[in-house]
């Protein structure tokens, strides 16, 4: 009887934990900005320390930043569980041996998801900055 009660407690606690996880995921989904429908114009600045900043004005019907940048032939990368991971921007490859990586920011604010998870909206401004050090 005591063992049975303990099993019920474990089951209820597990269900509660996963219910909270699902609930939090809905909070996340509710807070993602949906892409703008149709044609939108975005600006992408490519920043490499010690070099001139390059700016690209892109007009696209794409929904995600990855699609828009790939249409322009501006990026290359690989897919990871975090989303699409940019390895090369405008021909400049991030050098792993120097711990270089491409950081995506929107209006200077960091974005922790991959380029394929970023929905774009009209007049969005993104920066792709080559960073050194993890």
């Amino acid at each position: 009887m005591k063992k049975e009660k303990s099993w019920i407690k474990i089951l209820l606690a597990t269900l509660a934990l996963f219910a909270i996880a699902v609930l939090l995921y809905f909070v996340f989904l509710k807070n993602i900005e949906p892409p703008t429908e149709g044609i939108k114009k975005i600006t992408v600045r490519v920043i490499v320390p010690g070099e001139d900043v390059q700016e690209f004005a892109i007009t696209t019907e794409a929904d995600t930043l990855r699609q828009a940048l790939e249409e322009e032939g501006l990026i290359k990368g690989q897919t990871s569980t975090y989303g699409f991971f940019i390895t090369e921007v405008n021909g400049r490859k991030a050098d792993d041996s120097k711990q270089e990586w491409w950081c995506i920011t929107k209006d200077g604010e960091s974005i922790s998801s991959g380029a394929d998870l970023i929905n774009i909206r009209d007049n969005d401004k993104y920066e792709l900055t080559l960073m050194e050090g993890y």
Binding site: I10, A13, T14, L17, F18, I20, A21, L24, Y25, V27, F28, N31, S80, T81, Y82, Q99, E109, S110, I111, S112, S113, G133, Y134
Partner: protein, 168 residues
């Protein structure tokens, strides 16, 4: 709370720290799937307060390898929180119980790691950083729950046997 360190303890601390670092690097290609939570729980149950040394050697080694970025600040307290929770329930040996603890820890990892952003950019920045990371917290929760549920019992037996054999 008395923490005395003998030669055998130094060896254990060294081996456990090396194990944590190796396991973390070996599994780093799997985002938020980790065995560090499990190892810290097991280490705390087996070695008690000495786990503090293991945690901080691990944290400093991680910083030395990957750079002392903002993410590193949370390594200074997040694993210690898990250790303190484990110390409270140290007598418990139920894999389901520890799977729950590890799962809840995984789910709250992002919230705990967004604390430094409260001081850097205020409440809005911390909240936005936390919300963006929720999918990874959910993965972390499920990963921790399953790994602890499956591995707690066999690894606890191994840790316990080693402790009895080496620390009589």
């Amino acid at each position: 709370m008395k923490v005395s360190v003998k030669a055998k303890d130094i060896a254990v601390i060294g081996i456990m720290s090396a194990l944590l670092i190796t396991v973390q690097i070996a599994m780093s290609f799997l985002p938020n799937i980790e065995l560090i939570s499990l190892l810290i729980i097991l280490s705390t149950i087996t070695f008690g307060w000495k786990t503090l040394y293991i945690i901080y050697i691990f944290a400093f080694a991680e910083g030395a390898i990957f750079g002392f970025g903002t993410w590193w600040i949370c390594y200074l307290y997040v694993w210690t929180i898990l250790m303190l929770i484990t110390m409270i329930f140290r007598k418990n040996r139920s894999p389901f119980f520890w799977a729950m603890v590890a799962g809840a820890f995984g789910l709250s990892f992002g919230a705990l790691c967004s604390i430094p952003f409260l001081f850097i950019g205020g409440k809005a920045m911390a909240l936005s950083d936390y919300i963006k990371g929720i999918p990874f917290d959910v993965i972390h929760c499920i990963g921790n729950y399953v790994s602890v549920l499956v591995l707690f019992k066999p690894l606890y037996k191994l840790f316990d046997r080693l402790k009895r054999k080496e620390f009589r």
